[in-house]
Symmetry: none
Subunit: 187 residues, 4 copies
């Protein structure tokens, strides 16, 4: 793997474990197995590292979800697929997920453009738009629907992790949760 990639991985782990402030760049470097200064050949500043890492993790999640989108016809199933692939990714990548949250509620957040989801061409955006147009889901702003959808997934994630549910119970709860969320947004 690229050295840059290795640094990002180490940084991800350490930032989630100890926070941004609690993680010295020298620690990231040494734990990656490179010299102190090498890190700065790849990232001009610690801040840049933090932001690049955010975009990288976000993209990773986005790619995963989009790849799983049942793209042909729009139906309740499309949304179930979206719901399940998102919560699945978060549960399989808890460190990545935590990093996204931690970043979002840090002062660094205001430094990034959230271009990804807000672009009109984005598959998620299109999915919701079509759902509304086809009167499958409520006639409300696309971003609002999207926000509620993601909030509920975050709540579900938090509940599963906090209560340490077994794999079996997780699947059951995820299914029920989707039905609940669907009740909420269906027309």
């Amino acid at each position: 793997m690229e050295k840059k990639e290795l640094i990002l991985r180490t940084a991800l782990k350490l930032f989630v474990e100890n926070g941004f402030h609690g993680t010295a760049t020298s620690k990231i470097a040494s734990e990656t197995g490179v010299a102190n200064g090498t890190l700065f050949n790849y990232f001009r500043t610690k801040e840049e590292l933090i932001i690049v890492l955010f975009n990288s993790v976000l993209k990773e999640m986005d790619d995963f979800i989009i790849k799983r989108l049942v793209s042909q016809s729009i139906s309740k199933e499309s949304f179930r697929s979206l719901f399940i692939s998102t919560i699945t990714w978060s549960l399989e990548n808890p460190i990545h997920w935590n990093y996204l949250q931690q970043f979002t509620y840090s002062p660094y957040f205001k430094l990034v453009d959230l271009k990804i989801i807000s672009k009109e061409e984005h598959p998620l955006f299109v999915l919701i738009k079509n759902g509304i147009d086809l009167v499958l889901i409520k006639q409300m702003p696309i971003l609002f629907i999207h926000t509620l959808f993601m909030s509920q997934i975050n709540g579900l994630y938090y509940y599963i992790v906090s209560n340490d549910l077994s794999t079996e119970n997780r699947y059951e709860l995820i299914g029920e949760s989707f039905e609940m969320v669907w009740k909420m947004i269906e027309e």
Copy 2:
């Protein structure tokens, strides 16, 4: 006001503006109008200040919400009241709200006991429990229902603030959001 209270206020503002790491204790002291060392007469460490502030803000919110709970009979109206008073508080106290989020997703979070909501005697806990027992809302774990409820408020808050809705539009959206979450949790 007490000097301790003044320090907490200044800290709240600065922490939300610049983050924990971005706020020097000396800045908090000087902006409060006390000497550097005075801060440490009231809080042994910066960490203690951060945690005390969290508990204080949490209690402030909790007190506000509990005071507004329509306690007599359990009904959809009780939940609407709860929903509205919570989102209202968050919108009226955006800095406090932001502080709660920032703290929750920081490394400090693991240092606190979240006794407030998890206690069985807590009014919110009791309200949801009664709702379940009276078959008003779904037969699911109380904490799960609570999580979904709060997630909705979180999402709603975020949407309102990000999109800078007018007061009028806010009220309408809050009402609709409650109806949506109610659809989600009602039996």
Copy 3:
């Protein structure tokens, strides 16, 4: 007891336990049971406290020794008595003794006049002078003899304490040590 005396006692104990720098004046005050500022009604500065304490401990030791001096005739017995009373005091007051050492090898030492022993009228000075004049002990400078005498006590003290000798063994060793130092200084 006087409040001033109480403060000195607490200071003595804490300084020996934790050193000058390791002992905050506030700690001395609180452990004495007086308010922070009270200490400064009795001693203008911490430095003054440290020096007053030194002089006080030194005088205590000096009084003890002088009281025990067999003053009538000058003989080997007079020196034995002096030797034994000094080592006895140090072993019975190890904290005081340690304080004297600690002070002597600290930067505060240069701030005091060592008037006590160097005065010609001082009984110890007189004893040694008479011993020399009577050709009991070597014809060497009084202060030199005094230094050797005290060095022997120092070494003996250190050995007894480091090796945790029993009371019985102590007495034996003290007797032998005196015979040794006497061999060294006798004419």
Copy 4:
């Protein structure tokens, strides 16, 4: 010279002049001609610097003395050589000597293992042991003899320095002093 060595030299000078507490690490750094943080690349804490310096000075003295030991046959001359090389070193390195005393009577002392002299293989230990076995000196514990020996050297040092003796007078006094000490310990 190594930067680490330079820092130790400066620290030695400053600690003896102004005490441990009276010497800021920043002072040591600036007077050495390095940046503030550089000092902490070589010593993790000020305490570590203080202790490393102690061991270094102790070793320097020990090396000097051992090199000068007349190792072949055990005789009064061996002890004279030891006595003279020790007092010589102390007089030629008064700052080092003062540092050893200052450290010994500070709270840092309890943090070190005094392995040097107490090891049975140590030349000084062996010398005294052989002296006892050959019935050259008194049948007493080796450590006791060693302690008295060193105490008398310290007393002699203190007397010479306090009274500012000329070089000529020094040598004379040192010779006489050894004879006195020898009287004390010879069988």
